[in-house]
């Protein structure tokens, strides 16, 4: 009986804390990167390709370190989608191909949303 009560007393707060922490962190990452990508897009629209390239380079370097941590609780397919579109964005900027750039930018926004979609406590996810 004591063992069972102890197992609940340890497991329940642990899962709850883990769930809340992972949800908060994924939301934070998603929001931060969406803002950063918007900045890259604005620079590109304003014709500041060098500035956009510079910002994107920093974003990719940061993402590569954060991705490893996200792999602990986010399915790899979701983080891989972000990496692929970040690279696509980089190619678009390097070629100066704005249609390719905006295509990947839109897809990247969607991929960033997917990072936290599964974790969101919504009726849709539960059902």
């Amino acid at each position: 009986m004591h063992k069972k009560i102890l197992s609940i007393a340890i497991t329940f707060p642990l899962i709850l804390a883990l769930g809340i922490a992972s949800m908060a962190y994924t939301h934070h990452i998603s929001k931060t990167y969406r803002e950063e990508i918007q900045r890259v897009e604005e620079s590109a629209r304003a014709g500041d390709m060098e500035g956009a390239r510079h910002t994107l380079k920093r974003i990719i370097a940061e993402w590569e370190t954060r991705e490893k941590l996200l792999h602990v609780w986010v399915p790899h397919a979701d983080t891989d989608a972000v990496s692929i579109h970040l690279q696509g964005l980089q190619v678009g900027l390097a070629l100066g191909d704005t249609s390719l750039l905006f295509e990947h930018s839109a897809a990247l926004m969607e991929a960033l949303d997917h990072l936290h979609h599964r974790d969101d406590l919504t009726l849709g996810n539960i059902l």
Binding site: K4, S7, I8, T11, F12, I15, L18, W73, P75, H76
Partner: protein, 241 residues
């Protein structure tokens, strides 16, 4: 591939730990909710084991959740009879005073062949000898014969028998079972001397040695044609376990 090995190892031990925490019951003795949890744990461990793109936590967190639910249901079942009946069901009396209860059979989707099979499994050949048969919540059948048909016991004969407890295993495959020696209030020196007295040169030569509550030591040596020795080594009054 090494990742799969590590993940499989972690998930295996996690699943074993979950089952250990759940208790020592065998599959056939599981309550319905325990069986559901056991099947789900196996499935939950298998999915992230083979798909390395899924985080390990996708297997571990649901397993922990199931363990938690199991603990909660077990505690609730202990605390409330009504809840226990709701979760685990109630035993059904299929044979009462020797009469097969047709309604109960139908309610439990049990046909007569199933019933007779369980009666035979209970060690009774003739269904007419059965007084009571209860279908337990675990799905196991308990069968009791009429008082006239049950095996004779010492009490029926008016005999008094001495205490008969569990024999202590003192040597297992050459290894001394120190914990059992302590339980019996014995020590290694006593064991060595006793075994020497029986012709063994130490516990390493002994495959199995057990001491019963009558003070009789049974020792079997190693090999295809082992030495078998049975001797009284303690007075029954000295047995304290």
């Amino acid at each position: 591939m090494i990742t799969v090995l590590v993940r499989a190892t972690i998930l295996f031990f996690m699943a074993v730990l979950m089952m250990r925490i759940m208790g020592k019951r065998q599959i056939s003795q599981l309550q319905p909710y325990e069986l559901v949890i056991a099947i789900m744990i196996a499935e939950l461990a298998a999915t992230p084991m083979e798909d390395i793109s899924l985080p390990l936590l996708y297997g571990i967190v649901p397993m922990l959740t199931l363990m938690m639910l199991h603990s909660a249901l077990s505690i609730a079942s202990l605390k409330s009879q009504r809840l226990r009946a709701l979760i685990s069901g109630t035993p059904s009396i299929l044979i009462k005073k020797g009469v097969v209860q047709e309604d109960e059979l139908r309610r439990n989707c049990f046909d007569l062949n199933d019933l007779l099979e369980e009666v035979r499994a209970g060690g009774i050949e003739n269904p007419a000898d059965v007084c009571t048969a209860i279908l337990e919540t675990s799905g196991k059948m308990s069968v009791f014969p009429h008082a006239q048909k049950r095996p004779l016991s010492p009490e029926d004969m008016g005999l008094s028998v001495s205490y008969e407890g569990i024999p202590l295993t003192l040597v297992l495959d050459g290894d001394i079972q120190h914990q059992n020696l302590t339980v019996g209030g014995l020590d290694v020196n006593w064991l060595n001397k006793t075994l020497e007295g029986l012709g063994f040169h130490g516990p390493a030569e002994v495959f199995l040695a057990s001491l019963d509550t009558q003070g009789m030591l049974f020792a079997q040596g190693r090999g295809n044609k082992p030495r078998m020795k049975i001797a009284r080594v303690l007075n029954a009054e000295k047995v304290g376990w």
